[in-house]
C-alpha cells in the first residue's frame, strides 16, 4: 500500500537511476540520516558512543571495504585484521610525525597507504583463486602483524610496543585522545561512514562494480566480454584496502586510543569482519551495516540484559552470549544463506504486494 513504485513518476534518467527508486525507501533513508546527524548527537553520552556507536560505525566501514572485495569481486580475503593494522599504524606514524595536520587528512592518507599495501598483497589473486587466495591473504595477516611487532620504528620505539593516540583535532575540535566529546567522535565517524557508503554504493552500481561482479560470477566469461581481470581485481583490492584502512585508523585513533598489533588486529578480527559480511549479506551495502550491527550490538545487548537486568554471574552470561550469538548465526545461515540483506529484500517484495496476497 505504502511501499510501491506505482504512482511515483520519474521524469528524468537521473531520477530513474537513483539509489532508492521507491518513495517510501527514500523517505526512510532521509529519516535515518536525519536521526543520525541531527538527533542522536544531542542525546549521546560516553557509554553510548564508546560501547555501541563507534564500534558499529567503524566495523561498518570495514565491512563495506571487505564486501567490495569479497562480496562484489569474489576475492576471499582473510587479511582484514592485518590491513586494519596498516591503517592504524599508518595513522599513528602520520599523527606523531605531523602533529599540526588535521586528523581527517591523516585518516584518509592512512586509507591510501592501506590501499597500496592491499594491492601488493592482492597481486597473487591474478594467479590463484578461492581457498588458495584465502591462504595467501592469511599470510598477509600474519606477516603484517609480525612486522608491526617486530620493527620498533612502527611504534616509535616505545617500551611495550603499544601505540597511543595523542590528542588531534579537526577544525579545532578534539576527536582523538582522552578529552573528546561524545558527539564529536560520533559525528566524525558518522560523516566518514556516510561518505564511504555513498562512494561504495555508487561504485558498485556503476561500470566498475559491474566489472567486479562479472569477475566474481565467472572470470573467464568476463575476460571474453572485455573485462580486464588485472584492472578489475587490483582496483577491488585498492578500494577495499582504502576503506579497511580508514576503518583501522578510526578503530585505533578514535575508538580504542591505544592498540597493539597482535591484540587488536589479530586473526580474530579478520574472521569477525568476514562473518559480518556473510551474515549481513555478500554483495550488499545494506548487508555490511546489518552484519556489523548484528555482531557488535547483539553481544552488548545480551550482556546488558543478562548481567544488568537479570543480575546473572558475568561468566555465565559471557558463555551464554557465545551460545546465543553462535546459535543465531547458524539459524540465519540455514534459514537465509544470503544473509540479512536477503531477508530485507524479501520483506520489500512482500511489502510491495501488501495487503494483497498475490
Amino acid at each position: 500500500m505504502f511501499y510501491r513504485e506505482a504512482g511515483d513518476f520519474k521524469t528524468s534518467y537521473a531520477e530513474d537511476n537513483q539509489t532508492f527508486p521507491v518513495k517510501f525507501d527514500r523517505y526512510r533513508y532521509y529519516a535515518v540520516l536525519f536521526m543520525g546527524f541531527a538527533i542522536i548527537p544531542f542525546l549521546i553520552n560516553d557509554y553510548w558512543v564508546n560501547a555501541i556507536f563507534l564500534p558499529f560505525l567503524i566495523y561498518s566501514i570495514a565491512a563495506i571495504g571487505l564486501n567490495i572485495l569479497t562480496g562484489y569481486c569474489g576475492q576471499v580475503s582473510l587479511g582484514t585484521g592485518g590491513f586494519m593494522a596498516v591503517g592504524a599504524y599508518g595513522c599513528y606514524k602520520l599523527m606523531t610525525a605531523f602533529p599540526d595536520v588535521s586528523i581527517l587528512i591523516h585518516v584518509l592518507l592512512a586509507g591510501g597507504i592501506t590501499g597500496i599495501v592491499c594491492v601488493v598483497f592482492g597481486l597473487p589473486s591474478l594467479r590463484i583463486k578461492g581457498f588458495y587466495l584465502a591462504v595467501a591473504t592469511l599470510a598477509a595477516q600474519f606477516f603484517l602483524v609480525w612486522l608491526f611487532n617486530r620493527v620498533p620504528w612502527f611504534y616509535n620505539y616505545s617500551a611495550s610496543g603499544q601505540i597511543n593516540a595523542p590528542e588531534r583535532t579537526i577544525f579545532g575540535i578534539e576527536v582523538t585522545g582522552p578529552n573528546t566529546e561524545a558527539w564529536a567522535t560520533y559525528l566524525f565517524c558518522l560523516v566518514i561512514l556516510t561518505v564511504c557508503a555513498l562512494i561504495a554504493r555508487n561504485l558498485t552500481r556503476g561500470m566498475q562494480g559491474r566489472q567486479w561482479m562479472a569477475i566474481r560470477d565467472m572470470d573467464i566469461a568476463a575476460e571474453i566480454i572485455g573485462v580486464n581481470p588485472l584492472k578489475a581485481k587490483i582496483s577491488a583490492f585498492a578500494v577495499s584496502g582504502f576503506f579497511v584502512g580508514i576503518a583501522g585508523a578510526l578503530f585505533f585513533a578514535v575508538y580504542l586510543g591505544a592498540a597493539e598489533a597482535g591484540d587488536s588486529f589479530g586473526i580474530t578480527k579478520s574472521f569477525l569482519v568476514l562473518f559480518m559480511i556473510i551474515i549481513g549479506g555478500l554483495g550488499s551495502i545494506f548487508g555490511s551495516f546489518a552484519g556489523a550491527a548484528f555482531l557488535v550490538l547483539l553481544p552488548v545487548f545480551l550482556k546488558n540484559v543478562l548481567v544488568g537486568t537479570l543480575g546473572w554471574p558475568t561468566d555465565l552470561a559471557a558463555h551464554l552470549e557465545f551460545i546465543i550469538v553462535g546459535g543465531l548465526i547458524i539459524m540465519f545461515l540455514i534459514l537465509e544463506p544470503h544473509g540479512l540483506a536477503q531477508l530485507w529484500r524479501v520483506a520489500k517484495e512482500k511489502l510491495r504486494l501488501w495487503p494483497f496476497p498475490h
Binding site: M35, D46, N50, S160, G161, Q162, A258, A293, F301, A318
Partner: protein, 427 residues
C-alpha cells in the same frame, strides 16, 4: 539501519543503572577466555575481601562497598565497554588486570579523574607520578620483577653472570614485551647474553619456542606468561628436562594452576612475588567464616589461599586502605574518586596496617608520594614444592636495581609526556 534503531530502543531500557550511595570498586574481571585460569581466582579474592569488610565490619567507615563485575575476557574492546558502563556509577578505582586495557585507560582515567591501580602490571613507567597523575603501580612493577629475577640468578651463579645466557620467554603482547628494555640494560651491566623468544596469543602451542631453547641452551630462563601458556611452558620445560632451578616466572606465571598440571616435573620451579604466599593468615579464617561458609563467595569458594586469590585479596586490601585514608583525610565517609586519588598518592602501608587487616607480613612496607607511584619495588622469590603442593618464599623481600630501573622509567615517562603534551609536575 533499522536494526540499529531497534537495538537502540531496546538498549535504552537496560543501560540505565541505579545509582546508590555506596563505595564502588568495579572489577573488570575475566572468567572466560584463555586467561580465565588467572582471572577467576583474582576476581574471587577481590570481591570476597570487600564482602568480608561488609559482613564483618559493616563496610569501610560505615559505607558498604559494592563490587560490580564486568567481564572483559582480556579483550581491549570489551574493556572499553566495561569502563564506560561502570564509570558513571561512582567508581572509585579501576584495576583492569590487563596491560592492554591499562594502556587504553591511562588517558581516559586521567581525563575522568578516577585513579587506576595496576598492581604488578600495566605501564611500568607509571611509577613516575609526575607524568601519570592517576595511575599507580605499587608495590612493584615488571622492571622491578625483571631485576629481582636477574639478582637471584646472579646470587645462584656465585655473583657473576659474565658469559651466561638468559632467555626471556614472553607473551607476544604489551605485557610480555614490557621487561625487555630492563633486561637489555641489565645484560649490558652484568655482561650476560640476552635474547627474547615471543609466544603468540593464546600460547597453547609452544613446540617451536622450546625447540629454540633446546638449541640455544640458555643458562637461565625468565618467563612472562599468563593463562594457558603458563601450564604449557612449564610442561614443555619438564619435557626437555630443563633444570627447574634455573626457570623463573614473573608473579603472573607462578600460581598453583600453572605448576600442578606438570606434576612432579614442575618441582623446583621459581617465581618472583611481591606479596606473601600460603593461606596461613588470619584474614583467610575470617573469609572462610563470614564469606565462604555464609554462601556469599564470589566464585566457587575453592580458591582461598591460592597465590592469585591472595593477590586479589591484596589488591582489595590496598584499595580499602586507600579508601579508609581518604575518609580520614576528608572527614567524610562518602568519598569520591578525586579524594581516593589523593589518598593513594599519600598512601602508606606499614606492618601495623597489615597486621590490623589480618595480613601480617603479607607484603612489603611502602609509602607513596607524587614522585613515586610505585613504592619501593620490593620483590621476593618463591619456589614450588611439588610433593607438598605448596609455594614458599625462599628469599626476603629485596629492592630492585634502582640504578638500572630508575633511568629507564624516567626516559619512558618523558617520552609519554612529550607524546601526550603533559607537563610533568606535582600539583
Amino acid at each position: 539501519m533499522k536494526l540499529k534503531l531497534a537495538s537502540l530502543a531496546l538498549g535504552m531500557t537496560v543501560a540505565a543503572a541505579p545509582a546508590m550511595a555506596d563505595l564502588v570498586f568495579p572489577s573488570l574481571s575475566y572468567r572466560t577466555g584463555p586467561f580465565a585460569a588467572g582471572g577467576i581466582p583474582f576476581a574471587d579474592g577481590y570481591a570476597d575481601y570487600f564482602t568480608l569488610l561488609n559482613e564483618r565490619d559493616g563496610g569501610i567507615g560505615g559505607e558498604l562497598a559494592r563490587v560490580p563485575e564486568c567481564e572483559t575476557a582480556y579483550n581491549t574492546e570489551k574493556g572499553v565497554e566495561c569502563y564506560e558502563a561502570t564509570k558513571d556509577d561512582g567508581a572509585l578505582i579501576y584495576q583492569p588486570l590487563s596491560t592492554g586495557i591499562t594502556y587504553q585507560l591511562i588517558p581516559k582515567v586521567t581525563a575522568d579523574n578516577i585513579p587506576m591501580h595496576t598492581m604488578g602490571y600495566g605501564r611500568t613507567s607509571a611509577k613516575n607520578g609526575k607524568v601519570f597523575s592517576h595511575v599507580f603501580n605499587y608495590p612493584a612493577n615488571y622492571w622491578d620483577g625483571a631485576s629481582a629475577g636477574v639478582n637471584h640468578f646472579l646470587e645462584q651463579s656465585g655473583g657473576s653472570l659474565e658469559g651466561k645466557k638468559i632467555t626471556l620467554l614472553h607473551f607476544n603482547g604489551a605485557y610480555g614485551r614490557e621487561p625487555i628494555p630492563t633486561l637489555e640494560a641489565l645484560a649490558e651491566k652484568h655482561g650476560f647474553d640476552f635474547n627474547a623468544i615471543p609466544i603468540d596469543y593464546p600460547g597453547q602451542e609452544q613446540k617451536s619456542q622450546w625447540l629454540q631453547i633446546r638449541r640455544e641452551r640458555p643458562d637461565f630462563i625468565l618467563f612472562w606468561g599468563w593463562g594457558v601458556m603458563n601450564q604449557v611452558a612449564i610442561q614443555e620445560a619438564a619435557n626437555i628436562r630443563f633444570n627447574m632451578e634455573n626457570f623463573m616466572g614473573i608473579w603472573w606465571s607462578g600460581s598453583e594452576n600453572d605448576v600442578k598440571p606438570a606434576g612432579m616435573g614442575a618441582d623446583g620451579y621459581k617465581s618472583v612475588q611481591f606479596h606473601n604466599v600460603g593461606s596461613d593468615f588470619p584474614v583467610f579464617d575470617d573469609i572462610r567464616k563470614y564469606v565462604v561458609d555464609a554462601g556469599k563467595a564470589a566464585g566457587a569458594g575453592d580458591q582461598v589461599g591460592t597465590v592469585l586469590y591472595n593477590r586479589g585479596v591484596y589488591a582489595a586490601f590496598l584499595a580499602a586502605e586507600a579508601a579508609k585514608q581518604a575518609q580520614a583525610a576528608n572527614g567524610v565517609s562518602e568519598i569520591d574518586s578525586g579524594m581516593m586519588r589523593d589518598a593513594m598518592e599519600s598512601l602508606s602501608i606499614t606492618a601495623e596496617t597489615m597486621e590490623a587487616a589480618g595480613l601480617p607480613n603479607f607484603g612489603p612496607e611502602f609509602t607513596i608520594s607524587c614522585e613515586n607511584h610505585g613504592g619501593e619495588g620490593m620483590a621476593a622469590i618463591a619456589q614450588w614444592n611439588a610433593s607438598t603442593e605448596e609455594w614458599s618464599l625462599i628469599s626476603e623481600f629485596a629492592p630492585a636495581d634502582a640504578s638500572v630501573v630508575g633511568p629507564l622509567i624516567e626516559a619512558d615517562s618523558a617520552a609519554y609526556a612529550a607524546e601526550s603534551n603533559i607537563t610533568p609536575g606535582c600539583s
